[in-house]
């Protein structure tokens, strides 16, 4: 027995390893100096430029014709991080996950670097020098024919500069036609407002005025173009101190971010939303509806909240639903209070893609210029756009990537990244945003403005044109302000009066209400992917690896089934099923998700790209496609949903790369998990909270470890679960700030993802209407950190200010610390994930990295540092000025971008700091407090506000 107990020897294990480590190092040292570096100063240093520091510039990026206003950090002239523009009235410093990930595209080796001409089945690299004179000659011929046979296919854009060029094009080439295509457009919304008001109008929600918010398949906080502002206003209206907190009702077929935040949620098949709204309108008009407690309670509340309610409808719903919502909002007196109308661009006079495809087939199109977009991939499948392109003698595609469309066109022209471009666009409220380049095109790439300028022989260059359109007649001083702010102050669209027209909406035929879970009567809903959107971001590895907010799926998509539907059809999670719509078939993976409407199957668009690049799939080079291409089932008459779906299980299994295990299926496990979840991610009803504001706190235990004496600054964090909507913006901010690597699908399946901030998502309650809880988890910087106690080489140490420091150089990769971390936030580099940048010719990829953060090598543990580089920078800056950093001066990357301001960082030792006040709030609790490890992060309970009549009913 005694032999098992080791006597403490003279040489401790740590000392032994030190000695061993030292002798190994010496063995390799050859006694000579390392490679001498060179310093290359400027010939003339630009004014205000300090080498080795960052500068920030305001610009914007456009998606689906709506701008996101950005503030981009540039280090020594290279953009390294995208943040939201704090001055912008809507975005206010926040940026969506997708906007932030755009920085990766700039340095993507697949981002097109040159022109390619296809000729007789082979493709040849070309240069602008070859292209320009030839193209000018060709356009002169087209012009002589007054533009006959010339078609320009563009994505919808809010750019004034582009519009001015379009006018010029119409003068120069009167017979040319302008075509617009976007797979996820606002067509239904516009048609709805035309039905209701006779003209195209845009809804500007004013959530700060809303007490009852009803979202009908409307993802106001996720995919809505003003989601950041909506989410911020929503979070503000959810604070417990609000006298009249907002209640959110959501009716939708598949869980969205908005549905996850709902107080009352009803899962309804997409096609049943119209009957639901008709019944609601009838009930509001005084009729009796026997459609259940949900509708009854909702109607009562809407009537009680006249003028303080808002019914929002999502873009997938048909025009009739939009029109009905306009009418109900008007009749309840909400219009003008909780929502305003502004002018919406009306695409009247623009040719539709279907018409273009028919012209192409008929051989009537001689020159087709495609400005951005990817119609070969995302056009309705029955148009067979790829085949139609074969009939066009000259098709030019200006695009960021040499994608499916580029490969089917005769010319691929490389398009400049937004950060390399001059341009303009408008945000959802109409504010005119400026797009200015932070860097010259790294490769000879051009913008749509430049290409179109060449086509219509524009007199002004892109920058001059943008200035003339954005700020006509502005003085240099005013222009300078616009360049600084990134938008034109006070340029938001004015609200317009909307006079309701009289219209009637017939109730849909009963067939559409079929409730049986029978093949042929199922519905398939096409939804844009929360990360990849319509597929344009498919080659962005950050977005591919960021888990979907709800399904927690990375690298791919799957058809989402409700448990009931899956059981009825014999479909199992993680298997392949065949979806059949008429004659079209598609084999996709299936997953079962709570909160999905029975009989409704949702499939995300944007996956299954065959020519995205080395990340998203490239058939030509045998790079596997990622996910399944829903566009193959999507036709013009069913862009949003198809009603006659058949599902056939194939029996083949398919591994989904999820970062969270699928829900426990047996009832015992489920019960146990729910108990745990109640402890970890706490939720209470507002009524309970008001009765008894205090939350359960663990009493202080004796600790066996010596607690570090806290003197001076104590860094800490507070995360308000009541505000978090799970949008993933923080995850992307962290990825960009901290050089967090991407590991790929295989490694995610093995549980080796590297994200420093993980958003846990829990479902509780009934399968059909679950309560969704989000909990962002970073390193908690415990005061007696379990990881520190087990490290044999002191590679993780406690700093005097309470940071749990990770010393990469000391780490030998035992992974003991990760084993001992109760929060599982430590990440291990199983491979050298940054290997690609060490290769010859990877200079451009290297430019992406934040030089303030070490790039970690294989065999090293890493984790959240509370953005120690930002802490140090702020501390040094403040101390240089002879003061201490003020509260709020240090902002972590995740905190900076959070649209709902759920994350607060600061000094706990200063009782007046925001974080200290939040720590003291009665909602605050520490995770796993029973372990007595003193985490420096406090979570604030989520408070839900269910309808009293439905609380029992729904759980």
């Amino acid at each position: 027995m005694s032999s098992l107990i080791r006597e403490p020897s003279d040489v401790s294990r740590r000392r032994f390893l030190q000695v061993m480590g030292a002798s190994m190092a010496l063995a390799s040292a050859s006694g000579c100096h390392w490679e001498t570096e060179e310093i290359l100063p400027f010939q003339r240093r630009p004014e205000g430029r300090v080498p080795g520091t960052t500068r920030r510039f305001a610009t914007s990026i456009e998606c689906s014709g709506v701008a996101a206003s950005l503030l981009v950090t540039s280090y020594d002239g290279r953009p390294i991080k995208i943040e939201g523009n704090p001055l912008h009235p809507l975005d206010r410093g926040a940026a969506s996950a997708r906007s932030q990930a755009a920085i990766l595209d700039l340095y993507d080796p697949d981002h097109s670097r040159g022109l390619v001409q296809a000729f007789e089945g082979a493709s040849y690299p070309r240069s602008w020098k070859e292209f320009d004179p030839w193209f000018a000659g060709h356009m002169a011929q087209v012009r002589a024919r007054k533009g006959a046979g010339l078609r320009i296919l563009s994505e919808p854009s809010s750019s004034l500069a582009l519009a001015s060029l379009r006018t010029r094009l119409a003068e120069l080439h009167p017979q040319a036609r302008w075509v617009e295509w976007e797979p996820c457009a606002r067509t239904n919304k516009i048609a709805g407002s035309k039905l209701a008001f006779g003209r195209a109008l845009r809804v500007q929600p004013r959530i700060e005025q809303v007490n009852t918010l009803v979202c009908l398949d409307a993802d106001l906080f996720g995919l809505h173009p003003a989601a950041l502002a909506n989410a911020r206003a929503f979070a503000a209206r959810r604070r417990p101190e609000e006298a009249q907190p907002l209640r959110l009702w959501v009716v939708e077929s598949s869980l969205s971010l908005t549905g996850a935040a709902a107080d009352q949620r009803l899962a309804l098949r997409d096609e049943q939303i119209l009957p639901f709204l008709l019944a609601l309108e009838a009930r509001l008009a005084g009729g009796k509806a026997a459609d259940g407690l949900f509708l009854e309670s909702l109607a009562d509340e809407l009537l009680a909240q006249r003028g303080a309610a808002l019914i929002a409808v999502g873009p997938r719903q048909p025009a009739a639903v939009h029109a009905l919502a306009h009418r109900i909002n008007a009749n309840l007196g909400n219009t003008g209070k909780t929502l305003l109308y502004s002018e919406e661009s009306d695409p009247a006079g623009v040719m539709e893609l279907g018409e273009l495809a028919r012209e192409m087939e008929a051989g009537a199109v001689e020159t087709l210029v495609v400005l951005g977009g990817n119609p070969v991939y995302d056009a309705p499948c029955e148009l067979e756009f790829r085949r139609a392109l074969r009939h066009v003698p000259l098709a030019l595609h200006l695009s960021h990537y040499r994608d499916e469309t580029s490969r089917a066109c005769t010319w691929h022209l490389p398009r400049a990244h937004a950060l390399e471009s001059w341009g303009d666009c408008a945000s959802w409220d109409g504010t005119r945003c400026l797009q200015q380049p932070l860097i010259d095109p790294i490769f000879p790439r051009r913008t749509p403005l430049e290409l179109l300028g060449a086509i219509c022989e524009a007199k002004l260059g892109a920058p001059e044109l943008v200035r003339a359109c954005v700020a006509p007649g502005a003085s240099d001083e005013q222009w300078k302000k616009i360049l600084h702010d990134g938008f034109v102050e006070g340029s938001a669209a004015r609200p317009v009066e909307a006079a309701l027209a009289s219209f009637s909406v017939p109730a849909p035929a009963p067939r559409a209400l079929a409730k049986e879970l029978r093949n042929g009567e199922l519905e398939l809903v096409f939804a844009p992917d929360r990360n990849l959107y319509d597929g344009r971001s498919a080659n962005n590895s950050w977005l591919q690896e960021t888990p979907d907010a709800i399904t927690k799926m990375t690298w791919g998509n799957a058809a989402i089934f409700a448990a009931e539907t899956a059981a009825a059809l014999g479909v199992e999670d993680s298997t392949l099923v065949k979806l059949k719509l008429g004659t079209r078939e598609l084999e996709v993976a299936a997953t079962v998700l709570p909160g999905q409407a029975t009989g409704s199957i949702t499939l995300h668009l944007g996956h299954g790209r065959s020519a995205a690049g080395l990340v998203g799939g490239l058939e030509q080079e045998n790079i596997e496609t990622v996910g399944f291409d829903a566009y193959r089932l999507r036709s013009s008459d069913a862009l949003d949903r198809a009603g006659s779906l058949e599902v056939m299980p194939t029996g083949k299994s398919w591994q989904l790369a999820r970062t969270t295990d699928p829900a426990v299926t047996d009832s015992i496990g489920r019960k146990q998990m729910e108990g745990l979840v109640e402890e970890l991610a706490r939720v209470r009803t507002l009524a309970d909270f008001r009765k008894e504001p205090g939350s359960e706190r663990e009493s202080e235990h004796e600790s066996l470890w010596n607690k570090p004496v806290a003197e001076g600054v104590r860094w800490g964090m507070a995360i308000d679960l009541n505000s978090c909507i799970g949008c993933n913006a923080c995850a992307l901010a962290c990825q960009a700030e901290n050089n967090v690597p991407v590991v790929g699908r295989e490694q995610v399946i093995r549980g080796r993802e590297m994200s420093w901030i993980r958003i846990d998502r829990y479902f509780t309650g009934p399968e059909r209407s679950p309560r969704v809880r989000f909990q962002p988890l970073t390193c908690q910087h415990c005061e007696s950190a379990p990881c520190e106690e087990v490290c044999p080489v002191a590679a993780t140490m406690h700093s005097a200010e309470g940071l749990n420091d990770m010393v990469y150089n000391r780490c030998i990769g035992t992974r003991y610390c990760a084993n001992n971390c109760p929060f599982k936030v430590r990440r291990f580099n199983y491979f050298n994930y940054h290997k690609a940048i060490e290769a010859e010719g990877a200079e451009v990829q290297r430019m992406l990295y934040n030089p303030e953060v070490t790039i970690r090598h294989r065999g090293v543990m890493e984790k959240c540092t509370f953005c120690v580089q930002r802490i140090q920078a702020a501390k040094i800056h403040a101390k240089n000025e002879g003061r201490a950093p003020a509260d709020g001066e240090i902002v972590t990357a995740c905190q900076q971008t959070c649209p709902t301001q759920a994350i607060v960082f600061g000094d706990l030792a200063d009782p007046k700091s925001r974080v200290a006040r939040l720590h003291a709030e009665s909602r605050g609790y520490a995770m796993l407090a029973e372990l007595n490890i003193g985490p420096r992060t406090t979570y604030l309970e989520k408070l839900v506000n269910p309808h009293p009549a439905l609380e029992e009913h729904d759980g």
């Binding site: 002798s23 190092a25 010496l26 063995a27 040292a29 050859s30 006694g31 000579c32 100096h33 390392w34 001498t36 570096e37 060179e38 310093i39 290359l40 100063p41 400027f42 010939q43 003339r44 240093r45 300090v50 080498p51 080795g52 520091t53 140490m797 700093s799 005097a800 200010e801 940071l803 420091d805 010393v807 990469y808 150089n809 303030e852 953060v853 070490t854 540092t865 120690v868 580089q869 140090q872 040094i876 101390k879 240089n880 002879g882």
Partner: protein, 214 residues
Amino acid sequence: MNVFPRWMNALRVLAGASVLAAGVYVVALFAYGGSPKTINAGFSPEQPVPFSHALHAGELGLDCRYCHTTVEIAARAAIPPTETCMNCHLRIRTQSELLKPVFDSWASGEPVHWKRVHDLPDYVYFDHSAHVTRGVGCVTCHGRIDTMERVRQEQPLSMGWCLDCHRNPAPNLRPPEFATAMDWQPERPAAEVGAEIMQQRHLKPSTDCSTCHR
């Protein structure tokens, strides 16, 4: 039966001793050869232009900050752009062969390729402003630059050397207004002056890992 004669016993001891000595020698050799003092201190690469700090900073008495303009506000002291050289050399020694790389850079816009003398590993985040504004003189780490014809690394710049000062900064502190003065000498014992400065300015240099490594 003895195969080996008796005197071989002595040889055995001798052999053992020499193996031991060889081991000690090898370890000592590597310890010496691999130490930053040996490897780094004294490093003095030849520069494309034989710029003499002894002339400019010493004889002519230019302040360090005339060229290294960002030393008080940024992490890097910054090597001056060609323009700084040309402030004077547009008029002085305009025909000098030695200055050709500078004139070439001025004419072409291409940078002069200077060799880096003080090179910390990439995982070390040193900040000049944090030291200069607290009262660590240039001379403390860089030595008497004003006497160097060709810049030479004076100190080992090793982690142990950094920590020596972070643990006991007093002897190396001076009033920050004299930070760039090469020949400043304390009137009283250095440690005493330094201790006073530490108290006045609330200096408490950190030895946490994350102070320099991120």
